[in-house]
């Protein structure tokens, strides 16, 4: 019963956020030079007055603003995100076509960053706990500090320069070698090979974030009474670290991972642009070049929906991991 109310509150919140995004979209397009009909006419390449007037009528732009907002909301609710006159395809179709590539990239980067970041953070905290190899802590934290300040798109370029141009180990552009006409496992291996550089470049920033977070959370837990008790009753150090400290320190990391997903989506935009990865980010870059506003708005809507969905999942996972958390705001988030 309590769980049901928790889920419904969260769902309601998610819906509200999406409503907000739609309203923002509605007003943003009105900030563009000319009215939406002019924009659309410009995009389709035909500019005569009769055509524009026709468009105005067709999209209800001659109605009062509030009615227009209602019409727009109704359209989005029925999954009509508009039409991309540049590509002569409905916006939703364009985006859905690119969605799997982005999800693959984000999932790979997310897994890499969580695993490597938590491992590095735990390693750094371990040197503190045991009082040995303090230099390792210094190395890990300094690298994290530097990586934290590195522009993602520049790091991606460096990765291309080193691993693709100079060493020639990995492909730099695209998602698969279409010309080779591979299928089955050979195709999967090909995609995996193309995935290495973009996913790792995207992950690096978040590795730094999670390493710092894990270390800080572990150091905090280390000072708690139950850890002292565990040590006092003779639990081996390795076990205290893994079972008592790390497990309790992971909660804020999970919370934070959910919060970071919005940033991961933004990072994917840059990574995809650099690596010509055929996902939503690359689509957005192309839409920018073509000033395809309908497509840009649609992409904002879909990436927001993606992030909201991920946040919802993280909330549920968090609740599952820590049943103490009520339906209130996620506790335990680091300050």
């Amino acid at each position: 019963m309590q769980f049901a109310s928790f889920v419904s509150t969260r769902l309601g919140k998610a819906l509200l956020v999406m409503l907000g995004v739609v309203v923002i979209n509605f007003f943003l397009i009105r900030l563009a030079p000319g009215d939406p009909a002019m924009v659309m006419a410009g995009e389709s390449g035909a500019g005569d007055a009769a055509f524009v007037q026709n468009l105005r009528q067709q999209f209800g732009l001659d109605q009062p603003q509030l009615v227009q907002l209602g019409l727009y909301l109704k359209g989005v609710a029925s999954l009509d995100l508009g039409f991309s006159y540049r590509n002569h395809v409905p916006v939703l179709e364009l985006i859905l076509d690119r969605l799997p590539a982005t999800l693959l990239l984000m999932a790979a980067a997310f897994v890499i960053s969580i695993v490597v970041g938590v491992a590095l953070g735990a390693l750094a905290a371990r040197t503190r706990y045991r009082g040995r190899h303090r230099w390792l802590d210094g190395v890990i934290m300094t690298s994290a500090m530097v990586l934290y300040a590195t522009p993602l798109f520049w790091l991606s370029l460096l990765a291309i320069i080193v691993f693709s141009v100079l060493l020639g180990w990995l492909p730099a552009f695209g998602m698969e070698n279409v010309m080779a006409g591979l299928s089955g496992w050979a195709r999967i291996a090909d995609i995996a090979q193309h995935l290495v550089l973009p996913a790792c470049s995207l992950a690096v920033f978040f590795i730094a974030v999670y390493a710092r977070l894990t270390r800080a959370a572990m150091l905090e837990v280390m000072g708690m009474d139950f850890v002292r008790t565990a040590r006092a009753k003779g639990v081996p150090a390795g076990r205290v670290l893994r079972v008592h400290i790390l497990r309790n320190a992971l909660l804020p990391v999970v919370t934070f991972a959910g919060v970071q997903l919005g940033q991961l989506a933004g990072g994917a935009l840059l990574t995809e642009t650099v690596f010509s990865w055929p996902g939503i980010g690359r689509l957005m870059f192309d839409a920018l070049l073509q000033r395809d506003y309908q497509l840009l708005l649609g992409i904002f809507l879909v990436t927001s929906a993606m992030v909201v969905g991920f946040n919802l999942m993280a909330d549920l996972l968090h609740r599952f991991l820590d049943p103490r958390i009520g339906s209130g705001a996620a506790a335990g988030a680091p300050g």
């Binding site: 509200l16 943003l28 563009a32 520049w154 460096l158 141009v165």
Partner: protein, 279 residues
């Protein structure tokens, strides 16, 4: 103040950061003296290698533009946009957080819902959208960055206000009949200043990274040379001349790193109690 400076100077990272940042600021201020000509102009032969010509220590790009001149002028744009956006975001965030924290009740609920909304949506995507629609000019870039970076400040200020509001000196001010505005600005805000300053420094670093990302995507103001644009331009010739992107990339990295180091130093120096607990 003296104790604060002492604590700050004891942190080697913070001092290194301050030195680096000072160099960047001085270069940015002297950009027009060092390179009076526009960094967009052709200055020499295209594609000169670094160190190949004494006049162009960092070489030239595919259009013969002097890379070092671009770097120095780019520092100006990075700092200007970063400072302006951070200032705007701080102002708005403090105002909103102060109102929410001081007023409480439904005003607090509504303002925090708005804050959470802006924190949830993908910030870079939103910034890109705003600049694309408003057309890429310096003011719209600043506005877009400010628009996506105020929420953490609002939350921080609200939390500070919620706890400070209950303190005795604030209640005393209420009792002697000071106006709410006066209480906020003369009693509460000065006491919440240190965490705001620390957060402001980290926001400046993020703002500079966001500006670089925007101009890398071609959304920078074309009247001003910027580091992100230089990297974006280098991308198209990455196979022939890969060194073009190294300089501007390092410039961004060092600037952002120096600000983060200063921020950590400020954090340690302003909150000595926290440091003891964290270490």
């Amino acid at each position: 103040m003296k104790a604060f400076l002492k604590r700050f100077a004891r942190n080697p990272g913070a001092v290194i950061g301050l030195v680096l940042f000072t160099i960047v600021v001085v270069l940015a201020l002297c950009a027009s003296l060092l390179y009076p000509n526009s960094p967009w102009m052709m200055a020499g032969k295209p594609m000169l290698l670094p160190f190949a010509h004494p006049r162009f220590p960092m070489g030239t790009d595919m259009l013969g533009r002097d890379l070092l001149s671009g770097l120095v002028h780019g520092a100006r744009v990075s700092l200007m946009v970063g400072l302006a956006a951070t200032g705007a975001a701080l102002g708005f965030g403090v105002l909103l957080g102060a109102v929410a924290g001081y007023a409480g009740g439904w005003i607090d609920d509504v303002l925090m819902a708005v804050t959470e909304f802006f924190q949830t949506i993908p910030q870079l995507v939103m910034a890109v959208l705003v600049v694309a629609i408003l057309s890429p000019t310096l003011p719209s870039v600043i506005a877009a960055i400010a628009l996506v970076s105020w929420p953490p400040v609002a939350r921080l200020v609200r939390t500070e206000f919620l706890s400070l509001r209950e303190r005795e000196f604030v209640q005393a001010a209420v009792v002697i009949g000071q106006s709410p505005a006066r209480i906020v600005f003369s009693q509460i805000l000065p006491n919440a200043m240190s965490p705001i300053i620390v957060m402001g420094s980290f926001m400046l670093a993020t703002a500079i990274l966001t500006e670089a990302a925007l101009s890398f995507l071609g959304l920078g103001d074309r009247n001003y040379m910027s580091w992100g644009f230089m990297i974006g331009a280098a991308r198209s010739v990455i196979r022939q001349s890969w060194w073009l992107s190294i300089g501007p990339g390092l410039a961004i990295l060092l600037t952002v790193l120096s600000i983060n180091l200063i921020g950590e130093g400020l954090n340690d120096a302003l909150n000595p109690h926290l440091r003891k607990r964290g270490e």
